[in-house]
């Protein structure tokens, strides 16, 4: 079983956004990065499937040189090798460009199964996986919470809204976008980190002529839809004031 897992490097949850001078993108120099969380679950799922069915796990990522940090981390957690489509412009690229870039680098590998996270914690388009599936000529299914493989057939549990689920069967090769929480993540061991240094990381070039499907013309801190009353002071003072307002103003207690 030849499994690809696509991962993206995104700003950490703790990162406080700062904008560039044109207010069209973030100031990348200020950013600390980590592996996109849903992609970490996709990686874990690919490792579990390899443990069950054999084969190899190939990490694929499209981004500037900095994404090698998360590629190495994925290799340290147990992936076998990596493909990195490297270009500075990929840091801010949209889902169409990322998907086309990955498709060009992945097509000849003839993967049986491709996993991605369901969306990225940065731009959050929620499109890359499904577009990649179409470019690779594979069926796709999204927001997956369980993966079962029997021979050349695949059965997956797709999350619906409001606590509902549905099993879906489809032929391999296929692409799945993985929901956070599908499994329990493992972390890299020291042995894994050492082994990762010797694993293959193949560079692939960005195909020429890819056009973005959308342009960010402005970026800003969102405007508040409500007038939030901020309550300040020591914990005891703030608690007293909040309880008073919930009782007297909001009549919610």
């Amino acid at each position: 079983m030849k499994i690809a897992v696509c991962i993206k490097q995104v700003p950490t949850r703790e990162w406080q956004p700062r904008l560039n001078d044109q207010k069209t993108w973030i100031r990348e120099a200020d950013v600390s990065y980590e592996m996109n969380e849903p992609d970490a679950y996709a990686l874990e799922e690919s490792l579990r499937l390899r443990e069950k069915h054999g084969g190899e796990v190939v990490v694929c990522s499209a981004g500037p040189a900095r994404v090698q940090t998360v590629i190495r981390e994925a290799l340290a957690r147990g992936a076998d090798r990596a493909i990195h489509v490297e270009h500075d412009s990929l840091g801010a690229a949209d889902a169409f460009v990322i998907a086309e870039a990955l498709a060009a680098a992945m097509r000849d590998e003839k993967f049986d199964l491709v996993l991605t996270g369901l969306q990225s914690d940065d731009q959050g388009h929620g499109q890359t996986g499904v577009i990649l599936a179409e470019r690779l000529g594979m069926p796709s299914s999204t927001i997956i919470m369980e993966v079962q493989i029997e021979g050349s057939s695949l059965r997956v549990k797709r999350e619906l809204e409001g606590g509902w689920f549905q099993w879906i069967a489809m032929p391999l090769p296929a692409l799945l976008t993985i929901q956070s929480g599908i499994n329990q993540l493992r972390y890299a061991t020291l042995k894994g980190i050492m082994a990762a240094k010797k694993k293959e990381m193949k560079k692939a070039a960005l195909p020429d002529g890819l056009q973005p499907s959308q342009q960010v013309v402005g970026l800003a801190v969102p405007t508040r839809s409500k007038q939030t009353q901020m309550i300040t002071g020591s914990a005891a003072d703030a608690a007293r004031e909040l309880v008073r307002r919930l009782r007297d103003e909001a009549r919610a207690l």
């Binding site: 959050g124 299914s141 999350e159 606590g163 973005p212 499907s213 405007t223 914990a235 608690a239 909001a250």
Partner: protein
């Protein structure tokens, strides 16, 4: 023209369809006056759509298109992408609008990839009308809002965030014509074979009935600290609930999860304890009457929907609240 793709399950319209129609009316420039803007067509798809065409015809739109085909039931991304792409071929819309539901998230990127047109997802606002419009969408977990212009020809496919436009703001115009449309779908090209939807376990707690809810997020840090939130909930006469990561970790059962994949609630009081406010959580609780946010990060998106906010350490504030509430 603008094409709105309705969403229906077993003959019932998803309410978010009306929100997408409201967005289309704003985009068309018809929100203030009935005439003069881009015409809007609403398409409803299914094996048998019953009275849905008539129901949708109450909106102030140019026409309602009904496409019935056995291959559209049950829903599959392959069949829906094929059907909507056929609509686009014949109607040549400038925009296609859909509600940003799990179903849309499943097939809209496939549709966009197949017809090689731009897809802007999770839109919360429309600036301007017609071809010059830009679209507001969250980025970086809602920490920033981006103004986005689609590139690469028409139609631009736009998915509209649940709750961002008001269903009750839809202009009703009376009686749009309802037309039947044939769509050809090759059943052998549908690769996904879905089984019947099911629920994991009987929902023992109906948080929709709770008057007050204390909800915990990542800020609670560890399973042991859940007890503190439970104590606060008891002191407030509230049910305990959580954002998704807490339930993923097994710190609280899945049935207590609030958000797009869990329950949607609108209690009298909603206290968000250490919840940053990712959009998937906000859609499940922003209809609450009074929202309190307690978070150490003053920039957390949860404060955008909160009526009362305290920036600080929940491990100091929650005990202080309990003390205050337990005072005779």
């Amino acid at each position: 023209m603008i094409l709105v793709v309705a969403e229906q399950h077993e003959g019932k319209l998803n309410r978010a369809t009306w929100e997408a129609i409201a967005a289309a009316q704003q985009l068309a420039g018809t929100a203030q006056q009935l005439a003069g803007g881009m015409p809007i067509s609403v398409a409803v798809l299914g094996a048998s759509t019953g009275g849905l065409g008539q129901e949708l015809a109450a909106a102030a739109v140019a026409e309602v298109l009904v496409a019935e085909n056995a291959a559209l039931e049950p829903y599959t991304p392959d069949a829906y992408a094929a059907a909507v792409s056929a609509f686009i071929d014949s109607a040549k819309p400038a925009f296609v609008l859909l509600p940003h539901t799990y179903q849309t998230r499943d097939f809209a990127p496939l549709l966009a990839a197949r017809i090689r047109k731009p897809l802007v997802t999770d839109v919360t606002g429309i600036n301007g009308t017609g071809a010059d419009a830009t679209f507001t969408r969250p980025m970086f977990q809602g920490k920033l809002a981006a103004q986005v212009k689609p590139h690469g020809g028409s139609p631009a496919i736009i998915t509209v965030q649940i709750g961002a436009f008001r269903a009750d703001a839809v202009q009703k115009g009376g009686s749009a014509p309802v037309k039947k449309v044939d769509v050809q779908i090759d059943p052998s090209a549908i690769r996904q074979k879905p089984e019947a939807p099911f629920r994991e376990a009987k929902q023992a707690v109906d948080l929709g009935q709770a008057e007050r809810i204390v909800s915990v997020g990542r800020g609670i840090k560890s399973q042991e600290n859940i007890a503190l939130a439970e104590k606060l909930a008891r002191a407030m006469g509230a049910e305990i609930a959580a954002s998704r990561p807490i339930c993923d970790n097994g710190w609280l059962p899945m049935e207590r999860q609030i958000g797009s994949s869990g329950q949607t609630v609108a209690p009298k009081l909603y206290v968000a304890l250490g919840i940053s406010g990712a959009i998937q959580h906000l859609v499940g609780m922003k209809g609450s009457r009074t929202i309190v946010a307690i978070n150490k990060d003053a920039e957390a998106p949860i404060f955008e929907v909160a009526d009362y906010g305290i920036v600080g350490d929940l491990f100091e504030i929650a005990p202080a609240l309990i003390t205050e509430l337990e005072k005779p």
